[in-house]
Symmetry: C3
């Protein structure tokens, strides 16, 4: 992973100054960077770390007096996180998927895996499945039958792709992620208690003993290009049509997406967020950590759902929402402020009551 | 999967009209149904889809003028989701578990797996484990030692059954589901800070440095018949007695059930719901998505816990509850309405205060 | 697992009386204990169970009239859960990891696994990985390349350790747990909508179409001694430095810890709790079930976060907090009480308003 500063700056599309031939072998935080490291110091708050550190080269904020920090070379980053993306790609030691198909892997003879695939021990590919060029499949990962996957698949250890799913290019599945578990769909012969409560919004109802009958999932999961699915996360298959995840959408660890969900492009779903069955999510929607979207509702394009928010009703495009139940963020912040003052408000009302009844008595 | 309309109608226990010999090969939504598909149009809202589609046969709502939609045959479904369950079973292409025990699977010589089992590559069955007839075990799934499982097991890729668990007939474990992880049970030599706070409901306490000592799980998990466990969901084993899941109970993806939980029959636990250790859940309880039940409490028969509700206290049978903390649904809806108006209420009280102090001054 | 009462009492550091040579083979709850069982009856509430049961020996509360319950021997436990920890270790039948490296396991020739390791079928260990003595690795578990793990590892079926992670002694990974999935870190060329909303706390903003660029995780996960990670739980790797979990910290099932998190020692994280990226958690922090900590905040030593609480802001050491958003527990309980009375409060204010406007009219 050794690079000189000139190469790095060019790869990042950034300006550099100083000893452009200096070689760095890895990236590090300023305080921990040794003489072979590229210190990551894109913000003035890292000035002290640079001063006390031993780095000879760093990525710094525009205008930094890099020579004052004892650096011999500097790269200038106007947008730190964007530069970080570049650095992380250039410097990544990567993951070892072997060099070929491991002798202890199993690929069904009817599967078509493009040449050059790297497949780890105890990984398997099912009948008639087709996988594009550049696939990297970790140990114990499995891809079932009749699956179609594009180019440059990265499937980490223990990730699962179930039957008949269709996935685009550059998919990344983190360890133990699951695509295509069966949808959670059951029905009782007569309307169930849950159906009653939903329609009346009341707990009053006839109690009935009924067994759940399973609705099998005839649909699969259809995923666009450049999608990532986090560790131990799950996307369920559809009942009749496929569950759909649009291109560019990123899903974090321990998330769940129910059957029939239609999720748009370039969405971001953070850790432990969930989308219930048949919900429709627009493009560029952000679902923050632990947030939840109810089943069968619609969330418009560019909606931002705040941390741990519970979305029970449709949300128009562009809105930023927060809370349980979720409201516009401005409304929620007002509600929260009022809530903190609620005990005081109650006391105030009690006083007013006393004052008035005092007036009446006089 | 080709069926003619007469066969289908009979399998579903429904009436049919028209060209009863017409053959369909799969089910589809009305707008996407081609001439070989059975269009699923059990509600008048699908009339347009039928009109514009190319389907020759459909399942329709009772009384539908099916010939007007250009159909050659129709099946009538008075309860759409119930019909859907039937169709999904008849039309399901299913999952490929191979035809036998894969040569790269491992079954301990002391295990007793009934003849005819289908076992995928890299699946394993531990010592002395007994599995009934009809088992289908996916790639990389594992069943540990001394497990007892009934007939017609379906264990998808990567699902885990740990030692000494006992499972009834027709169990379905979705990919990477786990039965029998160790219970989360630890103790400190002296009462811990958490124990103090729980007993006093106050943060005031002595701070103590203490190490956690593990309590091993001597119990296992005992599961009835017809239970399903979703992808990446987990049921922990019991401390002394077993964790118990009653027959007919269905558990969705990314759920968690703690040690010692006693869950009744025919319950339904939706995505990302959790039940903490030693809680007792009655029969036919519905836990909606992202809901949570506290440890050591009791939830009665037929209780309905709404989406994302947090149940901190015992719930009597039959109640429908919602909110955080959960209350009766009617109460919660009132609270939510009042909460939305809370900023206005605070403003109103401020006005009243001004009015009264004005009166006093005059 | 047969032990006589004298041995057991000595192993537990407790006093015993009666037939000290009596042999018991397992532990059971009083009502279910047969003549070979050690009944666990450390609380007077079990008196009835003892009376009706068939146990000949029990662990009882101090001062219990054990002979009145028909017991032949008794061990006295002043702190029941502490005694339970001891009993559970002595009586645990354990998990079967085989006796050696299974012929169907794969250990890379460059890996160094200390002699005596037990490795199940279809488990794998990657290149250059070093594992200390006493390792027990279950079926289908995998450890990637360049990992360093201390002594007495227990890795259950399907658990994953990704590249370059460093783990101390006595680590326990439950089934399908994941250490070292990639961090969830993406960036857009220009500031994203989420960044705008966070800085303005308002939904008003320019809508922009932007693609997410991935930031790779150069860091790994560094875990201390005596840490346990629950079934289907996940700890993500760091961006530049490692994600860190301190010694003695216990993590339950279906939990998630984001990239760069620094978690202290002896913490406890209960089922379905989550800590978002770059949060710092002190020592001895308790995160109750379903609780959540926001990204980039700080939670001090000895903090107790109540069930399902949402922590959005820094928390000083020693505090006990509850609610969404979390506040001091005493404040939250007041808020909740006021909230339940809120509809009544609103009615009261309406009355006051009427009374005052009545006064004005007169």
């Amino acid at each position: 992973m050794a690079h000189n500063i000139a190469e790095l700056a060019q790869a990042l599309g950034l300006q550099a100054e100083g000893a452009l031939n200096l070689i760095v072998t890895h990236a590090a935080e300023p305080g921990e960077a040794g003489p072979d490291a590229l210190a990551l110091a894109m913000d003035p708050k890292y000035a002290e770390g640079l001063t006390n550190g031993r780095a000879r080269a760093a990525i710094v904020w525009p205008g930094a007096d890099w020579q004052d920090f004892g650096l011999e070379a500097a790269i200038f980053a106007p947008r730190p996180r964007w530069a970080m993306a570049g650095v992380s790609h250039v410097m990544d030691p990567g993951h070892d998927f072997g060099t070929d198909v491991h002798p202890m892997a199993f690929i069904d003879p009817t599967a078509q895996v493009a040449k050059g695939a790297r497949v780890g021990p105890f990984a398997s590919v099912g009948a008639r499945t087709r996988i594009g060029p550049g696939a990297r499949i970790g140990p114990n990962a499995s891809i079932a039958e009749d699956v179609v996957i594009g180019a440059d698949l990265t499937l980490h250890a223990g990730a699962r792709i179930a039957a008949r799913c269709v996935i685009g290019n550059r998919f990344i599945g983190q360890p133990n992620a699951v695509v295509g578990g069966c949808g959670f769909s059951f029905v009782t012969p007569e309307p169930s208690a849950a159906e009653d409560v939903r329609s009346t919004l009341s707990g009053d109802r006839e109690i009935r003993q009924q067994k759940w009958q399973r609705i099998n999932s005839l649909g699969g999961v259809r995923i666009g290009d450049d999608v990532e699915l986090g560790a131990n996360s799950s996307i369920d298959r559809g009942t009749v049509r496929d569950t759909v995840i649009g291109s560019g959408t990123k899903i974090d660890s321990v998330c769940q997406i129910g059957h029939n969900v239609q999720m748009g492009e370039d969405c971001m779903m953070c850790g432990m967020a969930g989308v219930a069955g048949s919900a429709r999510i627009g493009n560029r929607v952000l679902l923050a950590g632990k947030s939840a979207v109810n089943d069968n509702i619609f969330v418009g394009d560019d909606v931002i759902v705040g941390g741990a928010a519970r979305v029970f009703t449709n949300v128009p495009s562009g809105r930023a929402i927060l809370g349980d139940p979720a409201t516009k963020i401005e409304t929620q912040l007002e509600i929260r402020k009022a809530l903190r003052r609620l005990p005081r408000l109650a006391a105030k009302v009690a006083e007013l009551q006393k004052a008035i009844s005092g007036q009446k008595q006089t």
